[in-house]
């Protein structure tokens, strides 16, 4: 791939929980109960550390203790020099499935390789409104999820503003818009493809890591 390297972020990658209406509504009945006690007021974020970053086309190893992973198809907003959005990139935000959102999800989301990225940045100039994004997830060619970004709880600009209330997103940082409900599960041997009109598709294959 010399001459045309895959896009890789220069800064920190942040994910956003509960930013799709269906995802939010699915949890709503539990939100006033323990351990949460109340619905979230501010955006709920997490970090996808550098060790998770997997370029387009690469194999992603599932830990030997895990038989399935959850596919979190999303679009990341890449922050420009002026704090604006420089571009958008497809992301495959993998998680070990977990039922509780009380404690930070480090061991579920920061596993080596657990973020497929790219392959290419789509210039923000080409995008009229991120609410028009429509993403499809295919596993071994079969359509598993269809995501409509008009269904965000906090649309892109609102999310940026609300996150900016408490932290600065630096040039090169990436903020994911969220992952919708109905996230497909995938297993070792599966080929995951995430595509959207106007974007080069992102694909990764899952392999089982040998037992340590």
């Amino acid at each position: 791939m010399s001459g045309n390297p895959h896009f890789m972020p220069a800064g920190t990658v942040y994910g956003t929980l509960l930013n799709f209406r269906a995802e939010f509504e699915a949890l709503a009945p539990q939100m006033t109960q323990l351990p949460y006690k109340a619905p979230p007021k501010a955006p709920v974020l997490y970090v996808k550390t550098v060790n998770t970053w997997s370029p387009h086309g690469s194999a992603i190893a599932m830990p030997s203790s895990v038989s399935e992973v959850e596919v979190g198809a999303s679009i990341g907003m890449v922050i420009g020099a002026e704090g604006d959005v420089e571009g958008f990139v497809l992301m495959n935000d993998l998680s070990i499935p977990h039922a509780s959102f009380f404690r930070p999800p480090v061991k579920f989301k920061c596993v080596d390789g657990f973020l497929g990225i790219g392959p290419a940045l789509r210039d923000a100039q080409e995008v009229a409104d991120p609410a028009h994004f429509h993403v499809e997830v295919r596993i071994n060619g079969a359509l598993k999820q269809s995501i409509d970004f008009s269904q965000l709880v906090r649309p892109a600009q609102q999310l940026l503003a609300d996150v900016g209330e408490f932290m600065t997103l630096a040039h090169g940082d990436v903020l994911m818009l969220g992952c919708d409900a109905g996230r497909p599960l995938a297993r070792a041997g599966d080929r995951i493809e995430i595509s959207a009109p106007g974007f080069e598709a992102l694909s990764n294959t899952l392999v089982q890591e040998a037992a340590a």
Binding site: A10, G11, T12, Y14, L17, L18, P35, Y36, K37, A38, P40, K41, A42, V44, L45, Y46, V47, T49, V50, N51, T52, P63, F101, F102, R103, P104, P105, V106, K107, C110, V111, D112, F166, M167, T168, L169, A170, D173, A212
Partner: protein
């Protein structure tokens, strides 16, 4: 050796701790040989810039007394969260207290700096992967705690809220990282005291635990949690987090 990263006369320098006016570590001997007192320098986090963002892992409730103070039972496995780089500042810098909040506290913590790539490291080998240590002050603004991925980023990942430094101390120069006295003063009054020997999950455990599911890289940080004794801090307060053999990290609160 105690290493610093500073700005002097508009240029970034590295340097090492140097005696000044009879006081150990009161100055820095810059890479060009000049010796400059601490207060004439602008201090940066004492870590070499890295081409990719470093991973910053932080422990909550890793001292039994602090867990008790916060009315939690001690955790059965590490309570871990991740911080972004933009929260880091250096020694002698200012941390913003947002307007209208009721409870913002420091947390004096031993910070491990990873020295070489670590994956599936066994406890017995863990120290081989540590490059050195520094002091972190991992501020929390408790007004913003919500029970979603708690401690959430609005509490823990704010700009200026993680002072780090003054020094990066080579691992070889720290006799026993699990027997270091920690102390915090606010405006000269001691408010927090403890010892790293009281950690629930000690340093070798943490290296083994993290490296089981994630590869740690040189320059990555692990902030190991704080003991009992956190109090509210107001604008104007000078907070000094000190760890034996590592250094005294000075920080001032200001109004955002």
């Amino acid at each position: 050796m105690k290493h610093a990263r500073v700005i002097f006369e508009g240029r970034e320098h590295t340097g090492i701790a140097h005696e000044f006016n009879g006081q150990a570590d009161a100055a820095v001997r810059l890479d060009d040989g000049r010796v400059v007192p601490q207060e004439q320098l602008v201090w940066l986090p004492p870590l070499a810039p890295s081409p990719r963002p470093r991973t910053i892992l932080a422990l909550g409730l890793n001292y039994a007394d602090h867990a008790k103070e916060l009315e939690f039972k001690a955790p059965e496995e590490p309570l871990v969260f991740v911080k972004g780089q933009s929260t880091l500042i250096g020694h002698r810098q200012h941390t913003h207290r947002p307007a209208g909040v009721q409870f913002m506290h420091y947390e004096c913590e031993l910070a491990i700096v990873v020295g070489k790539t670590a994956k599936n490291v066994k406890r017995a080998d863990a120290y081989d992967f540590i490059g050195g240590y520094t002091v972190a002050n991992d501020y929390a603004i408790r007004d913003y705690l919500e029970n979603w991925y708690r401690p959430n980023l609005r509490v823990k990942n704010r700009d200026t809220c993680t002072p780090l430094g003054p020094w990066f101390v080579d691992a070889a120069d720290v006799p026993d990282p699990m027997a270091l006295a920690l102390k915090t003063t606010v405006n000269g009054t001691v408010t927090q005291q403890g010892s790293t020997r009281d950690m629930i999950f000690d340093v070798p455990f943490l290296i083994e635990y993290f490296s089981r599911f994630m590869t740690l890289s040189p320059g990555d940080l692990i902030l190991t949690g704080t003991p009992d004794g956190v109090v509210d801090c107001e604008p104007g307060d000078v907070v000094i987090c000190e760890i034996e053999h590592i250094g005294a990290l000075v920080n001032t609160i200001d109004a955002a």
